[in-house]
Subunit: 367 residues, 2 copies
Amino acid sequence: MLGAQDLLLMTPGPTKIPPSVQKASGQATMHHRSKPFAIMLGELLEGLKPFFGTSQPILPVHTTGRGAMEAAITNLFSQGDPILSICNGKFGGFFAEIGERYGCQVTRAFASWEEEVELSQLVKLIDSIPDLKAITVVHSDTSSGILNPIEQIAALTKKRDILLIVDGISSIGSVPFEFDKWGVDVAITASQKGLMSFPGLAFVVLNDKAWKAEQTSTLPKFYTEFKEILKSVTKPKPDTPGTTPVSLVAAVHEAVKLLTLEGKENVFKRMESNGAYLRQEMNQLGFQTYPPNLIEYSPTVSMFKVPEGYTSNDIQSFLQQHHGIFIAKGLGNYKDGFIRIGHMGDIRLSDIERTIAAVKDGLTREG
Amino acid sequence: MLGAQDLLLMTPGPTKIPPSVQKASGQATMHHRSKPFAIMLGELLEGLKPFFGTSQPILPVHTTGRGAMEAAITNLFSQGDPILSICNGKFGGFFAEIGERYGCQVTRAFASWEEEVELSQLVKLIDSIPDLKAITVVHSDTSSGILNPIEQIAALTKKRDILLIVDGISSIGSVPFEFDKWGVDVAITASQKGLMSFPGLAFVVLNDKAWKAEQTSTLPKFYTEFKEILKSVTKPKPDTPGTTPVSLVAAVHEAVKLLTLEGKENVFKRMESNGAYLRQEMNQLGFQTYPPNLIEYSPTVSMFKVPEGYTSNDIQSFLQQHHGIFIAKGLGNYKDGFIRIGHMGDIRLSDIERTIAAVKDGLTREG
């Protein structure tokens, strides 16, 4: 078997990390209160803005994505606040669970992992919940491959006194996202997906409507308090509260530089066309794109039902042992018989082709 | 000025990172659900046990040290629980602040940053608080250089139904710590101090008494829920809940290997004697060890009052610009006129000597 370092990660994040990102991270021995670090952090936070589609300050959160999801709840809400959670994937369900743990009144909607958001139904739900405070939704849910229609949902919330909180962990950096233009209120991303870096760091942005809600929130928080992070990053010499994970900042700093050099639009086009190509080729090999018949599939991750006679373990083990490619199985009820392939960040057409060829080889040998 | 990467970090953490640790971290592109990662994580968690002095499972927490401090509070307590916080340093005060934010009844004790714990006074305090649930204390507070007497405090709590929660962030890995033998109930450390790695990862251990308290805790938590982490790390193929910060795990894995090779006792002796030597030489140069007249000084960090006619800025800038050495100023009320020098982890006698020589040079040139 190949060494773990040599595997091609075709997983839905963490994903392939470019050599210059690895190098920048491993060499980042600078102190988090030094001037060079402040410059690097400032460049990174500016560089992320176009990928969020915002002119608002970006807040680094010293957690993985799910810590930032929790922080979005604790920084904006109070006990008893009614929240509507779109749950068409495992990670959509996280928002609901977090809300419940903190005593919010959570309504779960679109709770099947195969169900796209139906907007007229969403409007009815919104109207049925008195004093609804917020909608939570995952943009690209890596457990299902569904891409939720954020722009359309935002069109509903921005006219109302309702916050829209978006987990963009596997979309921002890879998929068009227009925080300001669409009127999203809170968006979250993390280091290890489209930002092609090591895991452990998240980024959040709030608009004025969200900052207003933040002022009246009474849920307890300390480590991830947004207003403290805002104070730190907007100083002339920006830093973060506490000890910054310097090596992770250095990684994302380098990765955002690479994405910016490639050009945001080119990156988005690459993801989109690579995803479509993968699904087309896999379908021809008998792997059904799943869930079937979606209007929109995520450009960053695809789920497939494996052909009759195979298990997801078969496919995963074969690709790892014979081709040095690491893919993911399904999650939850989709563990058996489903695989998930990531195609975000630094995944190139050649990686997609290598994966397809490996799957073909497996079917030939095992078939 | 030297590049940020070339500065010698004589700060109280983050501190110098050995080249092999940098390399291991930068190359850790493995997936967090792969078998090689599980092996690495397992080795790391075993390797940490002697430094905690425990046979209990070590829990990785995907935060810096202060996130793990918050987690210790949220995982063990409920609203209204009476907690006694020893606050003889900035970080001791953190426990008190966190407790208050979550609605615990916090009593602050030994609140001067120059005050050591007086045990008979502590006993009186303990006896004066009905139903006292826990004492929180920082072992080595990097804001003051005080080393608190954990063994003696534990001797008081272990006879009573009171938990002892210890922040060992700048002690564990550098200073003798006997979690099991002393009867500490919860201990915390982090990656960027004595464990000489990049910041962003923490480790916590609980004994049976603490796990019992965990079962009845009602404070809200999600991302840092200890019982979920325990479930993950005690699986035959250990992992952590969510996406593990793989590059940070790889760093600490390598660092613990280095510390283990050097030998725990040798590491402890090195810290102790380097610290004593630094204080002796700095005193001779007119830098008073601060706070004065302590019974015990931390072997990992020392604070000094700078001589008349100098500011902490003067010393810090001179060392950085002319000698490529980065030291810290005091914190809180000790910002002006005080410096802090770290001597933990990979800091060697030659680094101490280089620092002393640089200070001497500064006094000669500027004097």
